[in-house]
């Protein structure tokens, strides 16, 4: 299994699909076999960013059982080594995925034979998005340096935590704890992740530590997209410090991606930005992000240089 990178971030319009497409091209240019999955169900347009108007097959074939292997729904792009599974032809009601279908997709993703699998997630914190994000122990947040985006990102991280905690509680048969928590909460709605951890730790220290260990397995990276002049250049570092201090996982800030009008042009011309404008500051930042991910060491299977 290759490395799986869910790309999320809570807020719409922050550039998740843009980053997915461009990082995909860069990973592929290093000689990795890369597949991009459009999991912004009901709002998919990753294929458009890659210059494909109507991919012939996609996730719908897998869901309506035309094919049994998710790998058979993969479509080639114009870039060598880069493939896409689009969800553009899925039904109009695809945004409300059934639990069983969702689990089937996640299991299939984890079995895809590629070096690198990038998941382009939708905005918001619905269960589908959270569960797709939890398909891997790593993830990338795309944040823009604006209060709205930062607010949604923090909310997204908390929602991911709470979802993960619930998964572990269920998995590890902590049902007694779960029942007790539910009985104390308002209308059966659980509070913040920290209150859950605290409640579990108070009842059983070992179980509380297990929860913390599992949250500690996460390694979350983030980028500041659409970075404009006059924004505090240390903003990313500050957010990294705050997250590392107050959350239970490891957070890593990768780079500021400066705002560029030409992104708009590249979308209009249906060409991937990094292919059309490879020598801009924005492109350099994207390249730097890929370099940081491959030299991280946690991804030994990713190739680091061009293979001819």
């Amino acid at each position: 299994m290759g490395c799986i990178y869910p790309i999320g971030g809570g807020k719409g319009g922050s550039g998740k699909s843009f980053i997915t497409a461009n990082l995909g091209v860069l990973f592929a240019s290093l000689g990795n076999r890369v597949v991009l999955l459009d999991l912004d169900l009901g709002g998919s347009n990753l294929h458009t960013l890659l210059g494909l108007t109507n991919p012939r097959s996609g996730l719908h074939d897998f869901l309506n059982k035309t094919v049994s292997d998710l790998d058979d729904t993969v479509v080639e792009t114009l870039i060598p080594n880069l493939f896409i599974i689009s969800s553009v032809r899925c039904s109009m009601e695809i945004a409300n995925l059934f639990y069983v279908q969702k689990m089937k997709i996640i299991k299939a993703i984890q079995g895809l034979p590629y070096d690198c699998i990038l998941l382009d997630l939708g905005a918001g914190t619905n269960y589908n998005t959270l569960d797709f994000f939890l398909a891997s122990n790593e993830g990338l947040f795309v944040v823009t340096p604006e209060p709205t985006s930062i607010e949604n990102t923090f909310r997204f991280i908390r929602a991911v935590y709470l979802r993960k905690l619930k998964q572990i509680l269920r998995e590890k048969d902590f049902s007694d704890v779960l029942r007790e928590l539910a009985s104390h909460s308002k209308n059966g709605v659980m509070g913040s992740p920290s209150s859950v951890i605290e409640a579990v730790s108070q009842r059983d220290r070992a179980k509380g530590e297990l929860l913390l260990d599992r949250l500690g397995e996460f390694e979350l990276k983030f980028v500041l997209n659409q970075f404009r002049k006059h924004t505090d250049v240390k903003l990313g570092d500050k957010i990294e410090r705050v997250c590392n201090k107050h959350f239970y996982s490891r957070f890593k800030f990768l780079d500021n991606i400066s705002y560029d009008e030409r992104v708009h042009d590249s979308i209009f011309s249906k060409e991937v930005y990094i292919v059309k404008y490879p020598y801009t500051p924005t492109a350099a930042a994207l390249q730097n992000i890929v370099n940081k991910i491959v030299s991280n060491g946690s991804q030994p299977e990713l190739k680091r240089s061009v293979v001819l």
């Binding site: 607010e151 920290s194 903003l235 107050h246």
Partner: protein, 218 residues
């Protein structure tokens, strides 16, 4: 979220336990810029009460650490509780510049010079001294061998005589082209002989006899 109460003041301000007061002030300023109400980096991260609690804690950490007495008291408490290792606190003394060739422990130059003199005296090389003085001619090589027998390094000779190490090397290696003018060389040889507790005058005479007459130094 992690519990703030479990963090030490050093962890709250994100500084090492031996941080200077300058570092503490800087860290405090930085913390305020991160946690203040209008900061973008923690926008909507805390509710009002939580933010107030964090800011109070930062204030408390700063007020304690910046006051030397209270800081010492606080550090003692942390050591007693086993939350920090007492050895970490030792680095608080600011480092002073040290001379590049001073290798020993003593801090004053006088003590250092005395230590080298002692070393020369204690080396009991009377036999070697006699052989050297009996020699009619002396080469740099002989001086080198004798110095090494005593156990002196070139850097130590430099510390006593202030003769540049490269010149000392030229003398010992008989590299006549690299030697200074004769007037300086004579005084260098005498000072060097003195360090080795040889008679300066007779050493110089013997050295000059071994000196090639065509050398540029003349």
């Amino acid at each position: 979220m992690k519990r703030l109460e479990e963090l030490t003041y050093f962890e709250i301000l994100e500084i090492p336990v031996h941080a200077s007061s300058f570092e503490i002030r800087e860290a405090y300023r930085e913390a305020l810029s991160i946690y203040s109400e209008d900061s973008l980096s923690t926008y909507a991260f805390f509710d009002e009460d939580e933010r107030k609690r964090v800011l109070d804690k930062i204030e408390e950490a700063y007020a304690t650490l910046v006051d030397e007495k209270r800081r010492a008291e606080y550090e003692r408490r942390l050591v007693l509780q086993g939350r920090i290792d007492s050895s970490l606190l030792k680095e608080k003394e600011p480092k002073k510049p040290i001379p590049i060739f001073q290798v020993g422990q003593s801090k004053s130059r006088e003590a250092f010079v005395n230590r080298i003199r002692q070393k020369v005296k204690a080396s009991s090389q009377d036999e070697g001294r006699k052989t050297i003085l009996d020699k009619d001619q002396l080469a740099g090589e002989d001086l080198k061998r004798f110095r090494e027998a005593i156990g002196l390094s070139l850097e130590e000779v430099f510390e006593l005589t202030r003769i540049n190490v490269s010149i000392l090397k030229a003398i010992e290696g008989d590299l006549y082209e690299a030697l200074p003018a004769m007037i300086y060389l004579k005084s260098f040889i005498k000072s060097y002989a003195q360090v080795l507790a040889l008679d300066p005058e007779s050493t110089l005479q013997a050295y000059l006899k071994g000196f090639p007459s065509g050398s540029t130094a003349f």
